[in-house]
Amino acid sequence: MKRKLLMGLVGLGMAAGLAGVVAQSGTGKLVYNSDASDPAPKAYDQKIVAQFKAKYPGIEMTHNTVDHESFKQAIRTYLASDTPPDVLTWFAGNRMRFFSSKDLAADIGSVWKDNGWEKTFPKGFQALSQDKGKYVFLPTSYYWWAMYYRKDIFQKLGLKEAKTWPEFLGLCRSLNKAGVTPIMTGSKFLWPLGGWFDFLDMRVNGPQFHVDLTDGKIAYTDSRVRKVFSYWKQLLDNKCFLENSASYDWQDAAQLMTQGKGAMYLMGDFIRDQWKDGLEATQLDFFRFPIINAKMPMGEEAPTDGFFVPTKAPNIANAKLFMGYLGSKEAMEQGAKELGRLVPRSDIDKGLYASKPQIAKAQATIIEPADYIAQFYDRDTDPEMANIGMKGFQQFMQDPSQLSSILKNLEATRERIYGKITK
């Protein structure tokens, strides 16, 4: 009898111990909403979720994929509700700060500490993940912007990558002479022009000026901003850009480049997906945006995507487990391997990039020499400012003589959003 009781107690203890283990590895629910709606990222996203589920079978996980344009609007509804999803995809920079400054993003400092990420993520990405000293974001992938070009066309015409502004204008002239449109851009939906403004501003005025401008601390009517457009105008005067660029969305214009009608395109590395059948290996290459003022520090664009946990998330503990998995070496190496994009962890196997020589090139020629990494105009500044700003850039492309009135309009918008500049 006594022995039976004892055995029973031991059994109970074991059961309790087991239950403890189960509780530790997560029970209950977890809702994850993702904007990875393109085929390849979506398949990858589903795979990561399946792996997490296999690791924590006790968690009842719901995974919703929302088209990424709709997601940008839906996320505000999620965050305004009392039971938001537990984990959301999002963008670093002003877009993340917009939420975290309103206390809508949970402090995930414990996830960073428990996983030792401060030792495995470069300093720039640690800074990018914080708001007022608290970790609110987990960066998981980034990509770079560069001047992409058709290397076969360059070879045929005996052209070389441009390092400086005069060399770049020279490329325009040679390509025009050969009957190839020098620069593609599809500005129907405006954003590709944000890249032009960012690079020109960072090359002319330096990254710090650009940060201050996008933070609303400098007037758009400042003479230094005008100077940016004087360089832009040189490109227009040299007929560098695709005619009627506002007629095309970025993919229509990229299509012209794959057909060999255009030679260069200032774009993010996702331009690669427009090439089929592995032709990009023989046709596509890129170089760093040419230097205009050699005295200025180098600013580059590397928009960073990642994840955060809403403050009101009902299942914060599980959300943190999932964040831990998303930022793990295992998950990130897999991302590098399967999507071929750059991941921020510095301890991942460099061999994974061996089949993607573009990554080594981007790291060596763009990311590592950079003094500052920008997130892109529409991620670095207020959304309305970005919209009206880029509309102004489009108007400038159509009619550069309007510059004064365009800048006056942008300044009126800046002042309304950020307030008067106090010196």
Partner: protein
């Protein structure tokens, strides 16, 4: 005795009336409730929001008529109103005339008239978003169908001996050139509307009294005179409805603009509905967007009232 019975009778009537009211109310409760939740309340709430500044997160801040004041000094808003006015003018003339012409011709028991009617009506069946996508491809300067066609025509002209450069066709930027974009965006909308107007007029033509037409024939009316002085006046109730529907449809124009140009380039194709959407959901200024919605509502209300009056007047005629 008699008094007592009368009293019970009147009480009976009262319960009857109450019962009747309860029955009617129970039938109406559900639709009225839905109407309140889905139409009335959002409308009233939009009026309230238009008096606030709201970023969709932090609670709305009351701002009085500030949004309206800003609206009328906003050049893009003025541009949108102007474009809406152009839409209205084009919509009440072009598809109406074309639809009426088609209906008049197709009403004469032509060969293949069924096929032709279906063919002209078919665009109405396609979702506007799909129409917008397809037409944007047609308009692409270098890859699109339209410029390829113009190129072909120019080539023909050149072989005949005209001094033209066929290649210049590929530099027409239908949606990228602010001077062309508005026309280019309206064209598919007009194309879609024409079939709809045609069907309305075909239905109207069926109701034209054949005796009157016969009498007019005896009096010597033919062709244009017959149409101008006999048939067209008899179609006037249909014309009123067509015009009002066209105006309301042009005020509603959103999908085609949003997909084809999103109001660009440089707001040359901006219309109120798209501007409202951009301000509310891209720029997150929901109070400002609500103010645009209220202005649009005001415009639409005038024409909706006209429409309802016409429809009700016709119904009264029908019952009389």
């Amino acid at each position: 005795m008699a008094l007592a019975s009368r009293r019970t009778r009147s009480a009976n009537y009262q319960t009857l009336a109450l019962n009747r009211f309860l029955v009617i109310f129970s039938f109406l409760a559900v639709p009225l409730g839905l109407y309140f939740v889905w139409v009335l309340w959002p409308t009233l709430y939009t009026f309230y929001l238009s008096l606030t500044n709201w970023d969709s997160f932090t609670p709305p801040v009351f701002a009085g008529f500030e949004n309206y004041k800003n609206l009328f000094s906003d050049p893009e808003f003025q541009h949108a109103i102007l474009n809406n006015a152009i839409w209205i003018l084009v919509f009440i003339t072009v598809p109406t005339a074309a639809g009426l012409a088609l209906a008049t011709v197709l009403n004469n028991n032509l060969r293949f008239d069924r096929f032709l009617k279906v063919a002209y009506f078919l665009p109405m069946v396609i979702a506007p978003v799909i129409i917008a996508l397809i037409w944007s491809w047609i308009y692409l300067p270098q890859q699109g169908l339209l410029n390829a066609f113009i190129n072909l025509v120019l080539q023909l002209l050149k072989t005949i001996g005209f001094n033209v450069d066929p290649k210049s066709a590929y530099s027409i930027g239908w949606l990228g050139d602010p001077k062309l974009a508005l026309v280019a965006v309206m064209a598919p909308a007009v194309w879609r509307q024409t079939g709809y107007v045609m069907i309305l007029y075909l239905a109207g033509l069926k109701t034209v009294d054949s005796e009157v037409v016969e009498a007019a024939k005896v009096d010597g009316a033919t062709g244009w005179t017959m149409f101008r002085y006999v048939i067209f006046p008899m179609l006037s109730p249909v014309t009123t409805i067509v015009v009002v529907v066209s105006i309301i449809d042009s005020l509603r124009s959103f999908d085609i603009v949003n997909v084809m140009t999103k109001g660009g380039p440089v707001s040359s194709t901006e219309v109120l509905a798209n501007y409202m959407y951009v301000k509310s959901f891209d720029d997150n200024r929901l109070g400002y967007g609500a103010a645009i919605a209220v202005v649009l509502f005001g415009f639409a209300l005038i024409f909706v009232m006209m429409y309802l009056r016409q429809v009700m007047a016709q119904e009264d005629e029908g019952t009389a």
